[in-house]
């Protein structure tokens, strides 16, 4: 009886060892993401402060799906398609200078690509980039970056704090968030010639303003010297992608724009006049629908 009980233990020992090693690797590579819960998000905000004379003023405010609108009004709706769960927000003030303050907001989004998506919604391609988090940028009154599934927004309240203050606060938060500052791997898709740097966007709902383009990327590009827009719709399956391009075809026809359709083993290609985006070339291949808009003349 004892022997029978002991056998299974011996059998599972290798698995336990493997699990332990895996666990250690996980801790090494994902110190925060594995274990950061909603409750611990507050600890990502530096307390009591992040630099000499700059201290947290008051308590940390916490917002969820239900009450985010109390903080940012209707803008809250923008965050929901990106899997928003929690925002923690703190005000930092400088000792002896009540007019200068900084608000630090950390938004926990659904995933890394969602964090990039909401970041890209606000990104100003012309702003100065800073090496904080993933693709941080700064202007006179704000600093924004994303890291893993977190979107971080620092903004002036009252007179603008100095650039050094923004950077110090951002670095303190980025360090606490842990992990690596890597863009979501899906962005590899847009590493193609002609893309205008820092114009890549991920949209979680109604790409290009069309509800049937559920989610995907867009980016500005240059083709033969002319500005165009590239887009890629990320569908869940080939069937979904076929449905998407079919709905687009129906829409074009409803608007009186009969597309030219080419079908091949690679998928379906449309050439058409889009009511909003002028000349378009759109292709469905596998579970993707992708294309170019704003074409005026063929290359």
């Amino acid at each position: 009886m004892n022997r029978m009980n002991a056998m299974p233990l011996r059998q599972i020992l290798p698995y336990i060892a493997a699990a332990a090693i895996f666990f250690l690797f996980a801790i090494m590579f994902f110190p925060v993401d594995l274990f950061a819960s909603d409750e611990s998000l507050e600890s990502m905000l530096p307390s009591p402060g992040f630099a000499k004379e700059w201290a947290m003023d008051g308590k940390i405010n916490r917002y969820t799906k239900d009450n985010l609108y109390t903080y940012i009004d209707g803008e809250a709706e923008i965050y929901m398609p990106y899997g928003f769960t929690v925002l923690v927000s703190a005000l930092y003030t400088k000792a002896g200078n009540a007019k200068t303050a900084l608000v630090a907001d950390i938004f926990q989004m659904g995933s890394a690509i969602d964090a990039f998506g909401i970041y890209s919604y606000y990104r100003n391609p012309a702003a100065e980039m800073v090496n904080i988090g993933s693709s941080g940028f700064i202007d006179e009154s704000q600093l924004l970056f994303y890291k893993n599934r977190y979107f971080v927004r620092l903004s002036a309240s009252g007179d603008n704090p100095s650039r050094a203050v923004f950077l110090a606060c951002a670095e303190a938060i980025a360090q606490r968030l842990g992990g690596k500052s890597m863009p979501p791997e899906e962005l590899e898709l847009l590493k193609i010639p002609g893309i205008v740097p820092r114009t890549e966007k991920y949209t979680a709902q109604s790409v290009l303003g069309y509800a049937f383009f559920k989610k995907g990327f867009t980016a500005d590009a240059t083709l033969n010297g002319s500005p165009v827009k590239i887009f890629v719709i990320l569908d869940e399956s080939v069937q979904d992608a076929e449905d998407t391009i079919n709905r687009y075809m129906v829409y074009l026809k409803e608007k009186g724009n009969e597309p030219r359709i080419d079908k091949s083993t690679q998928g379906v290609t449309l050439i058409a006049q889009d009511p909003l985006y002028k000349g378009v070339l759109v292709r469905q291949s596998g579970r993707y629908v992708f294309g170019i808009t704003n074409l005026k003349t063929p290359p």
Binding site: A26, F30, G74, E77, L189, L276, L281, P299
Partner: protein, 409 residues
Amino acid sequence: MVCCIIYKRRSLDNEVNAMGKANQEKTINRREFLKLGAMTVATAAVGLGGLRGILEAKTDKQNQGVTPVYRTLGRTGLKVTVVSFGAMLTPEHEVMRAAFDLGINYVDTARIYMGGKNEEIVGRAVKGIRDRLYIATKTTSKSNSKKAIIKDVETSLEKLGTDYIDVIQLHSLTNRDRAFIPEVREALIELRKQGKVRFFGVTTHTNQAEVIDAVVDDKDKFFDTVLVGYNFKSSPDVREAIGRAAKAGIGVIAMKTQAGGYKTDAFGAVAPHQAALKWVLQDANVSCAIPGMKDIQMLSEDMAVMGMKLTRADERILERYSNAISPYYCHLCGRCESTCPEHVAISTINRSLMYAEGYRNRGLAQETYREVPNTSSALACLDCHECVARCVNGINIAHKMEKARRLLT
């Protein structure tokens, strides 16, 4: 083993990326990406030969349909479309342009929307047609000095690519005080003399009736418009204040017309969007509504409301929707908590219930409920024979607390 770990790390990577997401996406294969990227370029390079005709063709049949309906925006005298455009949620200027091509002639943005980008998007949308549109924007809510107001307006003009703003609004007033700051008024008057702004307005989300009344009672009649949250769930004091504003010649612009429409998802197929918009517009005291429109589908739905009457069927839809959300629809205003002698955290408990009943997320509900200290939990209600806490919106608090004890403790 190493292979196993590497494999698991990759899996973990994907799990971490997707952590917390309700609908997890399939992992996207990197090779598939690169191949796709190459295909896009190849398509661009070779796929367009001989298609000049299609690409250069004009679209003849677009922009058909609804005839715009106009109302006068109070004493500004502007004739605005009853369904106007709230730009805050719209990332694509082409969608706005489509709305303008369909006849919508009033667009509302703000200095702070999208971190300052929204005005630029509006600017692109109005390019070339500025003279047939009215643009409303807002100073930032922290701008309470002459210098700050002037700076906001100058920045907005630059971002919008225009040399005048039709309606400049003080953003998000929560009481009457900000409507009467002398140097703010001085700045606005100066800007009007320079031809940079035409009319003045305020916006409010909190203490709306007080803010509206402040504008109405102002003996100087300084502000011409109020932008106010107004929908079928609004309290009578807001509706009455809107009536007084209209009577005083103030243009009333309605926002938040959907009463938190995103909550609809939790209640199935009840889709009250058009009915909710009609409900707002059937109030003749409202000059226009500015629903946010993210895409062409929303634009079509909202446009179609122009000229429609609120029907009995619409009222029924709104009743059903209202009934559906009422047990859950806590405005989280917290005003009830001051009426509870046991200081029960009613708002947080109601939020927990909303997670449980509305979102069907019991884990999140319990997690939220655990945030409440025991002394403020629904168990504290057991010390009272009768509940004296009152909700201004009519929620039965005793019933909700009893339900919380049953479901969450």
